[in-house]
Amino acid sequence: MKVIEIKNLHKIYDEKTVPVHAVDGIDLTFEQGEFAAIVGPSGSGKTTLLNMIGGLDKPTSGEIIIADTDIKTLSASKMIDFRMKNIGFVFQSYNLIPVLTAGENVEFIMHLQGKPKEERKARIKEMLEAVGLGDRINSRPNKLSGGQQQRVAVARALASKPKFILADEPTANLDSKSTETLLEIMEKLNREENITFIFSTHDARVMKKARRVITVEDGKVISDERK
């Protein structure tokens, strides 16, 4: 089942002065349950591509179809709502709300979705246990290691039951052991729960784990390998 369909996607910055083709005619399709990495050197356009898939940036032209919706056509406020319901995010640095506990951070997205309290409470436990942090529900982010914080971010991304999870350089700030643990958890969730993960990364360890590696250079897909 197609989760994301990208057709002839372009993103041009400074269109009227010095045009920069950050994304230049990309066509891609992601199926349910993929564990894919978008790789490429700095400035290749992988982050721009990821931002557009996540609805954080608007394409200049082309289509991004998620859940039968071309997200380019959504207004800013509808896009926020769409992201909340359909897309889970894990960012490079930990990006948790520092004044909330791990449990509350996971709960927050469900609160935004208007889920009832009982459902939220049950899912917090389930999600934190899934990332191996069931015992850290009441810990504030500053009491967790970098790897643990990223695992909470994964739990938060999963809590909203998104169609897929976008992870922008999720291991960039982690040591090897934490990276290994995080990747194992995400891979396990992918295999067991059929959750779609799309990474943007430089990290060879992520590329090694990914079952699909899409290489982007100068805004174009130059290779798309499936393992």
Binding site: N51, L56, R83, M84, I97, P98, V99, E107, L112, R156
Partner: protein, 408 residues
Amino acid sequence: MINSISWKNIWRNKLRSLVIITAIAFGVMAGVFSAAMTNGMFDSRIASAIELESSNIQIHNSKYLENKESYYFIENADSILEVVKQNPNVKSASKRIKITAMANTSASGAGVMLYGIEPDIEKNVTKISEKIADSLGTYFKAKSKNQIVISSKLAEKLKVKLKSKIVLTVQSLDGTMVNSAFKVVGIFKTSNSAFDEMTVFVKYQDIANIINLDATKAHEIAILLKENQKSDEVATQLKSKFKSLNVMTWKEIQPEVGMVAEMLNFSLYIFMIIILFALGFGIVNTMLMVVLERVKEIGMLMAIGMNRMRVFKMIMLETVYLSLTGGVVGMILGAGIINFFGKTGIDLSIYAEGLNNIGYASIIYPSIGFDYYINTVIMVILTGIIASLYPARKALKLNPAEAVRTEI
């Protein structure tokens, strides 16, 4: 949950928050205290105007106020007094003869307003009897005739003391000038030196005999109410009952005091508004720092699905909580100081002469109603909301894609 985040966010940078909270607290404390000082000062002036000078309501012959001639009297004062006393809002009422007179002694002379009163009844209407120091006589003795109570200011002017004689010259009803000697039995002092200098009290019957006024008649009926706020209501009732007479409230009798009362509410809030306006800039500055420090976090929140309204709400609530914490602390401190000085008073004796000349007491007892605190809370909340607009706008203009990659 956003409420909780906003509240917890305040304490992320404790020092910065405490600095602005302290500034707000001191500002609000100063505002509340200065309002209480002004209110205490004006309240005491209004209370003294009502309790010592005009009472709440006065009734006169409709021509009397145009030209204070002794023959413009109220015909059936006693029966009117009885009707007035039946009004449930009336605490007490008295009839008075009120005419201009010339007071002379061997050393000096002065024009005065002479009040002919029934001391036992008048005690319940005005508090002049309480303004006579123990060493300065009494508020009339029971049986002696031709007693007079004057102020220390007039005593000084006429160079008289207790038991001295003063000759009063008044116009009788037939127009002839008559003289009569009175013995000083009491010397009072109020906080209004202009009133003191002009006012003398004698017994109703003594002056009625001198000007040949029938004992059922009077120039003035003074009415003290149980509650000052009822003045207009009762005056309207009395006006409808005594259409041929002139019924006036204390605000009409002493328009300068009435104006003070009318403007009091407005003036009490001016200082607070100025303080909050100034503090507002400090709050804006603090919240701008907050937003700039949290660009990445706000970007992340917007990226994961926190809509603009919720981001706005979060920043606004944080600003309001910050302002309100300072405001409540300031009000508690202010209430403590007001309570302390409300009991001890603030002695401005060094300015007594100037204050007394304009009718104000030299000891101020700060006081302020509970509604002022409520309104201050509302103003602090409004300040917080207004101060949050610019920082919140800054937050809303963030592009989440750029914001999440910002390094601060």
